[in-house]
Symmetry: C2
Subunit: 235 residues, 2 copies
DNA sequence: CAGTGGTCTAGACCACAGC
DNA sequence: CTGTGGTCTAGACCACTGC
């Protein structure tokens, strides 16, 4: 039983799809037919089909059958962390400012809070081998138990700051990526003397009720970051 | 049977994880215990656990048990297509050049081909409401059946160009995102007169044997693109 | 109506953990 | 050795589809 029956079923159907014998929209053999083909029980056949469905190869219509799915050619998975990207690792982090502020109009809009709600502002500078590579700003909506100690904040990623107070599973996260020219403050902090753009990555985190918990904006020197992704899961 | 038993099992365990009763590393009740708790058969319990595993909530160690998994806080899913992004949709595309070329050193390296292999070069300009928003270059390793008709190339996305000759499921894709200043050619094509950076998106596609099939580089005006992603699947 | 997929059961044997 | 998860069976009933 080195190779389970359902794996053989999965491989057999995957091969038909990858080689083009079965095209998107085509029907798969019915479950009963597959039972006979592979000499397996229906539950075993269904386990194989469940795996194919999970991997995006097929979908089923009750009462009709299982069909080959057109893959989503636009889907990519990227693993992003402020401190690590494919050409750079942050090895030092400097806390520039920690403060309690009132949100301006832009923040009121982005974080869906009232103007009177207090926010924690955290400004940091990231370094690699002694050179500044990114300027990082976080706005956190204050909650009890939130870390406000400098030692805790200095080297934490956005998720780490918030996972202290919220069960991590409850988080919904959004990321936005764009390019921008640095203003004078950025140029100063990031040692930019000539024409060099910034790659900006915004992260927004939400709680279980889908209310924003915080906003993080990281401004990278254009020559210090490349984000990478693939259509495949890691591992 | 409006709500299947396995769904109740899934919701029950999810709730324990999201509320913090169960933390990463904690053991779940054993399958036999869950059978008794929910008055269900083992196959039904296992179906629930399979769903939790698929969604990244738990993992299992044979002979030991099922355990709560620490979620991957760095994982994001982005849906990218040269023609569409969250602030812009390309409504017109102009073919600048289609040619057969020999790869230079950079392309030999990126596409892992020999210097003597012919490549198809496609240069296009993307427009939104009459204004140029992106400059797009594709390098395809020639294969029989590949589209070389202008009508076919003008409005096709990278995946569409290649899916004509390769079963789409076989594709592995990589994406790389970075910021860059425009050179004179880019400034000319994209109507850039002042300091405006480019957001560059490179796509590389691979065949079933993991050999590169093509490289696409899209240079967007910095004010015409934002890429967005979340930690959640679409739909 | 017959055929399809969706749910579910009550068993079984196996390999592996840990005592 | 007992308990765990991993695989598998041979049935069952249901809701839905299409003729």
């Amino acid at each position: 039983m080195a190779i389970p029956v359902y794996t053989r079923i999965v491989e057999s159907i995957k091969e038909k799809i990858n080689s083009g014998v079965l095209k998107p929209g085509d029907a798969i053999d019915s479950e009963n037919t597959l039972c006979k083909e592979f000499g397996a029980s229906r539950m075993t056949v269904r386990k194989g089909l469940a795996i194919l469905a999970r991997d995006g190869y097929i979908y089923s219509i009750p009462g009709k059958g299982n069909f080959v799915k057109a893959p989503d050619l636009t889907k990519y998975i990227i693993y992003y962390d402020e401190m690590r990207n494919s050409i750079n690792i942050v090895d030092k982090s400097q806390l520039l400012e920690v403060n309690i502020i009132m949100p301006d109009d832009k923040l009121v809009d982005k974080l869906q809070v009232t103007k009177r709600k207090n926010l924690i502002l955290i400004k940091r500078l990231f370094f690699t081998e002694g050179n500044p590579v990114a300027y990082d700003i976080k706005y956190l909506i204050y909650q009890r138990g939130m870390p406000i100690l400098e030692e805790e904040l200095q080297d934490a990623t956005f998720s780490e700051m918030l996972s202290k107070t919220t069960p991590v599973f409850a988080l919904k996260k959004e990321i936005t990526i764009y390019a921008q020219m640095p203003d004078e403050e950025m140029k100063y902090y990031l040692n930019i003397y000539d024409e060099l753009p910034l790659l900006v990555v915004e992260q927004k985190l939400f709680d279980r009720e889908n209310k924003p918990m915080g906003l993080g904006i990281t401004y990278y020197r254009g020559d210090s970051i490349k984000l990478q992704g693939t259509n495949q899961e890691r591992e």
